[in-house]
């Protein structure tokens, strides 16, 4: 007995000493390893980090992989964004890879039927379509593109084909935020970050529903109350939502009248004399619109500004918006106080708006006018809906008029910069802006002989067949046009692949390396963790392969100024690696090669990105990331503020160093209130608003294939006010027809459900591909940002077989 115990002790003793040594050596090895490496737990699961695949919050998760499959997800406790918490979509994100109808082979449509073909054939088909007429070829990408994917497409189109018809689906969600930031600060993206949510005393929501759409950020705000902190939540919206249940104030306003409300607040700030004179004198100029409307407007005097705001008395604003004058006064008083910190949050309510640029400018302006800017908690912050609308679409500039790093195709200096970094011959980049999204699809759906000069669109990582507005005109009209060719890179069959001519199977999320950039300027990287199914391949490879095929076929655009292939890549030893040959795609980290080149673009507008290896070691870094004197990498939480932003000169306090007026000042804008493009009338008496729900992300192609999410929200519906429903003879579950001038669909009615629309309005979510509300929506874009309005149009709602008997809601315009 004692002998056994003795042996046991000796073994334990040796193990203890060995463990101490392992730990000491481990600590030393770790700091030099570029890839932190996944860790395996006793149950045989290997865990590695990744950002969530879904919304713009950018939560970090740990992905558990066993036997080559994702088997579990954890919220990343060490991530600053979400601190271990996720939402229901994030917890179930592992399931999106495993729907049974995953696309695994390239397919070409012959005689109306999609037939499997090889990748060689598929790449050749794409190349031939480009050669048919390179000017009529277009690339439609996405805010779900990883940064390297978007960058590859951008370089291919603008630096290779000299073709500016490249657009992201983010045109449909963030373009107004972009033009808002550009016209106020001279440079895109929020100055604050999520830390503002921890410091704000008042959070004002301008027409968004974060309890469902950015749940982790919303929790971050309201859970402060559980810790005894006081946060005042003011929900300004056009209908009561889950968010309203947690709000201290709910201010219901008539669609489009947010313009009047913002002006009303500014009016009172001037009238009450409690605007921040000091802040404005030091840091702001005034601006007004040109005619016709453009991005940068013209300088106006303070007197002009005050005079323009004259009509926006609280009584007038009440008349327009329906919010009581006392509440407008309450808002203005809040802004007039310097002892509270106010964060304004918005998303699609302000961006998918027929005057989206204007309302964005106005909300920024209220914050500037009242000095609620530049301190933690004082911030006007636009939230994004997609995981990399900021990181890819906005920063890489994959839009018809941008170049990477905040540059413009119209600017000769910017073109030269880009040509130098890309090493393409001078003059290669086309100075003329391409078609924006709505235009692009319009042209695509117009016959060639009638001026439809876009013959081929390649779509990557998005579903325009469901997400474009006014689908009949902008998408479905393609069906009859024989010479138009739609190429779609997708993971599942969707509304877009339904009329595609060539379908390419794509790798999804952790089936490839990737980098995303979230709403708070945080760039986050992940490594591939599982193999894609069948022959699915990463989108970046597809773009490079097409580029190389064109290079083989002699297209001059695929050569740089030294005659080398545009996407030539070398390994660590300096040998060229043929990454267009998929067998060699994994020989080097193509992501890193693309990203490190793209990074060079980021310094011009002080959006400095960290090097790839530094990103790989962190859970995201907020740019500008600069290297300090001792070699460490430092991120920036609050931009333009001295001390937090390394580019603000000492003693400046706040410095808008990309100021439109080139004097370090931001612009306070006046824009007038205007009624919506399509207001209700006796024929179409009801407002239609569209949007999302918690359980499904965007068009639901991923989430509808996860049983837990689908069972929680299985189909679309039309949310009605109970009195309106009663008047129309409709009850819960009855089929109603929602009809506009553009189309109609039938939907089951939901009354007293998840949200409470006021009389005269209805709401329909857009996640259901069997009930596509975008056949009905309007899509009139903001004239400056070209972003369509999905939130307001006029419809009639009636019982199937019946006629509308709903009254027209009262209008302030008589």
């Amino acid at each position: 007995m004692s002998m056994d115990r003795r042996d046991f002790l000796r073994t334990t003793a040796m193990a203890a000493a060995t463990a101490v040594i392992a730990q000491r050596l481990g600590a030393v090895e770790n700091t030099t390893a570029p890839h932190p490496g996944a860790t395996t737990t006793p149950d045989g699961i290997t865990w590695d980090k990744a950002p969530c695949r879904f919304c713009g919050t950018g939560c970090h998760v740990r992905v558990g992989v066993k036997d080559g499959r994702v088997v579990a997800i954890q919220g990343e406790q060490l991530a600053e964004v979400n601190k271990g918490l996720l939402c229901v979509k994030g917890y179930h994100v592992g399931g999106i890879l495993y729907g049974q109808d995953r696309l695994t082979t390239p397919m070409l449509r012959r005689n109306g039927v999609l037939e499997p073909i090889t990748w060689e054939e598929a790449i050749d088909v794409v190349a031939q379509r480009v050669l048919k007429d390179p000017k009529g070829f277009a690339f439609y990408g996405s805010g779900q593109w990883t940064i390297p994917e978007g960058y590859a497409a951008q370089k291919f189109m603008k630096g290779g084909l000299a073709n500016n018809h490249i657009e992201p689906n983010a045109r449909l969600c963030m373009a107004s935020a972009v033009t808002g930031y550009l016209s106020v600060y001279g440079v895109d993206e929020p100055a604050g970050c999520y830390d503002d949510l921890d410091a704000a005393d008042v959070v004002i929501l301008w027409g968004n529903n974060p309890a469902e759409m950015h749940p982790v950020l919303f929790s971050r705000i309201i859970d402060r109350r559980l810790k005894g902190q006081k946060v005042t939540l003011i929900d300004m919206g056009t209908r009561r939502t889950r968010t309203t249940e947690h709000a201290d104030e709910y201010l219901e306003f008539r669609p489009n009248s947010d313009l009047a409300i913002a002006n009303g607040i500014a009016h009172l700030l001037l009238q009450n004399n409690n605007w921040d004179r000091d802040f404005v004198a030091k840091y702001c100029n005034f601006r007004g619109d040109n005619a016709p409307l453009d991005l940068l407007g013209k300088a106006i005097s303070f007197e002009d500004y005050r005079a323009a705001l004259e009509p926006y008395t609280p009584e007038y604003v009440e008349k327009i918006s329906g919010i009581p004058a006392a509440k407008i006064r309450m808002l203005a008083e809040l802004f007039g106080r310097r002892d509270v910190r106010i964060t304004s949050l918005w998303c699609m309510g302000m961006n998918q708006h027929n005057r989206g640029t204007a309302i964005n400018r106005l909300v920024h302006s209220i914050h500037l006018l009242s000095g609620h800017f530049g301190r933690p908690g004082d911030a006007p912050t636009s939230l994004t809906g997609q995981p990399s609308a900021c990181g890819t679409a906005r920063e890489v500039g994959t839009m018809c008029n941008f170049l990477p790093g905040g540059r413009l195709v119209a600017n000769a200096e910017h073109r030269k910069d880009s040509e130098d970094i890309w090493k393409v011959p001078g003059g290669r980049i086309n100075p003329k802006s391409g078609y924006h999204t709505v235009q692009l699809f319009e042209k695509f759906c117009t016959p060639t002989e009638k001026g439809g000069d876009i013959h081929t669109i390649i779509v990557q990582v998005t579903n325009p067949g469901q997400s474009l507005p006014n689908l009949h005109k902008l998408f479905l009209a393609k069906k009859g046009l024989a010479d138009k060719f739609l190429i779609v890179s997708e993971v599942y069959p969707t509304a877009t692949t339904a009329i595609a001519d060539l379908v390419l199977p794509a790798a999804l999320w952790v089936e490839k390396n990737g980098i995303y950039g979230n709403s708070e300027r945080r760039t986050q990287q992940w490594f591939k963790q599982v193999e894609p199914p069948g022959q699915a391949r990463p989108d970046a490879w597809m773009t490079i392969a097409v580029a190389h095929r064109l290079f083989e076929l002699g297209h001059p655009g695929m050569k740089d100024r030294d005659g080398n292939f545009l996407f030539a890549m070398k390994d660590a030893a300096g040998r060229e690696v043929p990454v267009w040959d998929y067998a060699h795609y994994g020989d080097i980290n193509v992501d890193r090669a693309l990203y490190d080149e793209y990074r060079l673009f980021s310094f011009y507008k002080h959006k400095n990105l960290a090097p790839y290896d530094v990103l790989a070691q962190s859970r995201g870094l907020r740019w500008p990331v600069v290297q300090t004197a001792d070699g460490a990498w430092q991120e920036t939480k609050f931009r333009f503020t001295e001390g937090a932003d390394p580019f603000v000169a000492k003693g400046k306090g706040i410095q808008f160093y990309h100021s439109v007026t080139k004097d370090d000042k931001a612009l306070i804008w006046f824009c007038p209130y205007e009624p919506a493009t399509e207001e209700p009338n006796p024929d179409f008496p009801t407002w239609l608003c569209t949007g999302r729900v918690l359980e499904h992300w965007h068009t639901g192609t991923m989430t509808m294939r996860v049983p837990q999410l689908r069972n929680a929200m299985p189909n679309a519906y039309v949310e009605m006010n109970p009195e309106d429903a009663a008047a129309a003879g409709l009850g819960n579950g009855d089929l109603a027809v929602v009809e506009s001038r553009r189309g109609k669909i039938e939907l089951p009615v939901w009354v007293n459900g998840r949200a409470r629309p006021p009389r005269g309005t209805v709401f329909v979510p857009f996640f259901d591909e069997r009930l596509m509300i975008n056949e009905v929506t309007l899509g009139e874009p903001c004239p400056i940002s070209k972003e369509p309005d999905y939130k307001k149009c006029a419809v009639k709602v009636y019982r199937k077989g019946g006629e509308p008997i709903l009254p027209v809601p009262p209008s302030p315009h008589g």
């Binding site: 490496g37 006793p42 865990w47 406790q77 460490a632 579950g733």
Partner: protein, 284 residues
């Protein structure tokens, strides 16, 4: 009394007798009925004490229509809410504290049943469970009424919240019976399957030696309240043998690797820079 009238002894007497008789009859009858009532009450009281949360003592007769109760029966407690009547929050039962000390007699089937239920509600071990009942679509205000403290609803143990309280329950916990199941408007079954197979619940935790307290075989993130599964509200298969001991992690060690507290592996996050003092957050 007048001297002129003759003494009406016999007539008065008879009238008196009749009145007395009537009075006696009335008293008797009322007494009888009151007695009936009292007997009813007494019986009602003793019956209530036994009935409490148990089922009616007599099985209801099966008919096509519900039997109308007699007036006398209205107070006897046999009338129960029908199947769709909402359980009153005020009458939610709490589990019997004494019952948790009764050692659970488990069969292999109990554990298997537990695993199946757990797996059915979670996409993988550690995922937020879906609610097997419809949830309020608008607000989380009512969730903690049943899930905040150990509760028994309609004879079933209600799982208690296992993690610190967050305000927005329905952000993570959705219902497995979504809105359409109420309307039967569309089929809720997936037309295309999903082959995701989540990691299953772990088995019993390893022990250093026979009789040692088992180590915790799962992560402790979001499982701060051990008693939510292992306490009186949990299923018998998981119940602790010693609920009187409140400081669980004094003896039951968590697993650092499972809890992602890796000694080597992913480095810790950046220390947050204090922007006011300009001290940088550094990665080396």
């Amino acid at each position: 009394m007048t001297p002129s009238s003759p003494p009406p002894t016999s007539r008065t007497g008879r009238r008196l007798a009749v009145v007395a008789g009537l009075v006696a009859l009335t008293v008797g009858l009322s007494g009888f009925f009151m007695g009936l009532r009292q007997t009813d009450h007494a019986a009602h009281d003793t019956r209530l004490a036994r009935v409490s949360a148990s089922r009616p003592t007599t099985a209801p007769r099966r008919r096509a229509y519900p039997e109308a109760p007699r007036y006398a029966d209205l107070h006897d407690g046999r009338l129960r809410p029908n199947r769709d009547w909402t359980v009153s929050l005020a009458t939610l039962a709490r589990p019997d504290p004494a019952a948790q000390y009764v050692p659970a007699v488990l069969t292999a089937g109990d554990l298997a049943r537990l695993r199946t239920t757990r797996i059915g509600r979670r996409q993988y071990d550690g995922a937020p469970p879906v609610a097997p009942h419809p949830t309020d679509q608008l607000s989380s205000a009512a969730c903690l009424e049943c899930h905040g403290t150990p509760t028994v609803v309609a004879g079933r143990a209600v799982p208690q919240i296992s993690h610190p309280r967050y305000t927005n329950c329905i952000q993570c916990h959705v219902s497995s019976v979504g809105p359409a199941s109420w309307w039967q408007a569309r089929s809720t079954a997936l037309s295309e399957g999903n082959s995701f197979a989540g990691s299953p619940p772990s088995g019993p935790g390893p022990r250093a030696y026979l009789g040692a307290p088992p180590t915790i075989p799962h992560t402790t993130w979001m499982r701060d309240n051990c008693m939510s599964c292992h306490g009186p509200g949990g299923t018998a298969a998981l119940r602790t043998s010693h609920p009187n001991r409140q400081s669980c992690v004094q003896c039951h060690a968590p697993n650092a690797t499972l809890d992602s507290h890796f000694a080597s592996g992913l480095p810790p996050p950046l220390p947050v820079a204090d922007w006011k003092t300009n001290a940088p957050a550094a990665i080396r």
